[in-house]
């Protein structure tokens, strides 16, 4: 029966059944095979998969992101980044990377981050005669790192399905995100010197101070979210509601760029993305139940411990699986199904669960910018109006760099673990 379930899933996916429905169909076939009476498990597991207060942070951080990208914060973050790195060679490319990372600090959705920053920064890059394919590749790759920046949806979902503290995962993501972001900026700098891109003009001090003053409010939002969580003031979910209220107040009353009639559009965009994520979560928990019912995770874990001589072989295998899946599908279903199976095996081989979770998040970030279907790559190409075939060759050095950095994170667990340890997470 296990084989039947897996075959149903693969056939449905290849035929183009929506991923969420394909998972549910496979679960239904598995249950029917045992007894039609078991079908009542479908709604039971669906609802149990969604009955989670930490999970609520997903739609709310998506909403916070949608509010601030409408309300003028994205532009101010780009302007602010301009003051710090804009004058360096390839300045606009560095601005894109830095501002995507900063913006990710307040919005949970990597594809929304890419779209928000891209729509502000790409016209400027075009004006400055940056080659369009190169410009698009730079900001797609920045989106690939944003799965590590708290409050990324991927980190929340990893926490929810594996029972890890989301606060600890957020803390663990910070240093790897900075390391990967700096690596991307370094490569952009080198490529910019090759391309001989124009330098930005010098700005005056009064103008610089004004930009910094304008950019303080978005930065303060990051401080509220992270400070609130680590100061023990509120939980990550409560932080997401505070972020929504703060983002709305600033956009309405300080920047005055958000209008009341924009609100339904923003809410509906949030609902659409949340609907996709939450539905997959619900049906994936049906599917996981059927797998568990069949003792497949147990068999798989036994197989892994019998064949993987150590954690290094194991994690390289896991990387390979997630990279291949990430190239052809959205990252969340593999996370939801595989995390609960792989995490116990990883821990049995002596890996720290936080380290393992961050490696998976970094990996699926790379999947998001990998051809043929990486979501951030698609969004970047759409905003940049450049075909994917032209962007891909320019993206390859960035992909190679991120893969190399993934190995660095793999073999240097301290990079990930020092901050959560310092904050007192075990």
């Amino acid at each position: 029966m296990g084989l039947l379930v897996v075959l149903t899933l693969v056939a449905a996916l290849l035929l183009g059944v929506p991923v969420a429905i394909a998972l549910a169909l496979a679960a239904m076939v598995g249950l029917l095979y045992s007894s039609p009476e078991f079908l009542i498990v479908l709604p039971q597991k669906f609802l149990a998969g969604l009955d989670s207060f930490p999970l609520l942070a997903v739609p709310l951080f998506v909403l916070a992101g949608a509010l601030i990208s409408h309300g003028g914060m994205a532009r101010r973050i780009v302007d602010l980044a301009m003051q710090f790195v804009g004058r360096l060679p390839g300045g606009l490319g560095l601005v894109v990377i830095l501002s995507t990372m900063l913006f990710s600090g307040i919005s949970g959705s990597p594809s929304a981050n890419t779209a928000a920053i891209g729509s502000v920064a790409l016209p400027a890059m075009r004006e400055r005669k940056y080659p369009p394919a190169f410009a698009t590749a730079v900001f797609a790759s920045a989106g690939g790192v944003s799965t590590l920046v708290p409050p990324a949806i991927d980190l929340i979902v990893i926490g929810v399905v594996s029972g890890m503290s989301i606060g600890a995962l957020f803390a663990a993501g910070v240093t790897p995100a900075i390391v990967l972001g700096l690596a991307l900026m370094g490569l952009t700098w080198i490529r910019a010197l090759d391309l001989d891109l124009p330098l930005e003009e010098r700005t005056t001090w009064p103008r610089r101070l004004r930009t910094i003053r304008d950019g303080i409010l978005p930065l303060f939002m990051i401080v509220i979210i992270l400070g609130g969580i680590y100061g023990g003031v509120f939980t990550p979910t409560e932080a997401s509601a505070v972020a929504v209220v703060y983002g709305a107040l600033v956009s309405f009353f300080v920047y005055r760029e958000l209008k009341l009639e924009d609100i339904p559009k923003i809410l509906l965009r949030t609902a659409s993305l949340s609907g996709v994520v939450l539905f997959v979560l619900g049906t994936a928990s049906m599917f996981s139940f059927v797998l568990t019912f069949e003792r497949l995770p147990h068999l798989l874990a036994e197989g892994i411990s019998a064949h993987a001589p150590n954690w290094i072989v194991f994690i390289l295998f896991v990387h390979l699986v997630f990279l291949v899946l990430g190239m052809v599908m959205d990252a969340l279903p593999p996370i939801i199904i595989l995390m609960p199976i792989l995490l116990p095996a990883a821990m049995a081989l002596g890996m720290d669960p936080l380290h393992f979770g961050i490696l998976v998040a970094a990996n699926v970030g790379i999947g998001m910018i990998s051809p043929p279907v990486g979501i951030c790559l698609y969004v970047a190409c759409g905003v940049g109006k450049t075909p994917i075939e032209k962007v891909t060759p320019k993206l390859l050095p960035f992909l190679a760099l991120l893969l190399a950095m993934l190995l660095v994170l793999t073999f240097a667990p301290q990079v990930t673990l020092w901050l959560p340890r310092a904050l007192g997470y075990e």
Partner: protein
């Protein structure tokens, strides 16, 4: 004010959209007031977390239907897009049929499940568990409806209507 009025009228004409928007706003309000009550009024709410979880279930169910309506659910297209047009039509029918069968089964089981738990009471809000759990029935019925609507539109587009 006219534009706000127009926005409101649009929402009345689109009850599903109005419902998901209302739930999202309610979720922000409930979760935010949990913080406000704890720090500003020094009185933690006993029911806010439970209510938020129940609203989340409803948000998931209804926004899944909304995502079906807007075609946002993620599917792998790279095999289908390379198939010849005649095969594509058959694949489209098979996908729609499989989706409809699952959603119909899911809807009926969800209804049975909601009826089964109607006597159970939620610990903090004291409401019947049928209230949060019937979200699965409502969501799957609406998702089924929009899946069929989408399929009919595809068929019509193919016939060139």
């Amino acid at each position: 004010m006219n534009r706000i009025g127009a926005a409101l009228r649009t929402l009345v004409r689109h009850p599903l959209e109005a419902a998901v928007c209302t739930i999202l706003v309610a979720l922000v309000a409930v979760t935010f007031s949990q913080v406000v009550f704890r720090y500003v009024l020094q009185a933690s709410l006993s029911w806010s977390e439970e209510l938020a979880r129940f609203l989340l279930m409803w948000l998931a169910a209804l926004s899944a239907a909304y995502a079906m309506k807007t075609g946002a659910h993620f599917a792998l297209r790279f095999v289908v897009d390379r198939a010849p047009p005649a095969a594509r039509r058959w694949i489209g029918a098979a996908v729609a049929a499989a989706t409809a069968v699952f959603l119909a089964v899911f809807a009926s089981q969800s209804l049975l499940f909601a009826i089964e738990v109607r006597g159970m009471e939620a610990p903090a809000t004291r409401m019947s568990m049928a209230i949060p759990y019937s979200s699965a029935f409502a969501g799957s019925t609406l998702t089924l409806y929009y899946a069929l609507v989408n399929w009919r539109r595809e068929l019509r587009a193919e016939r060139g209507e």
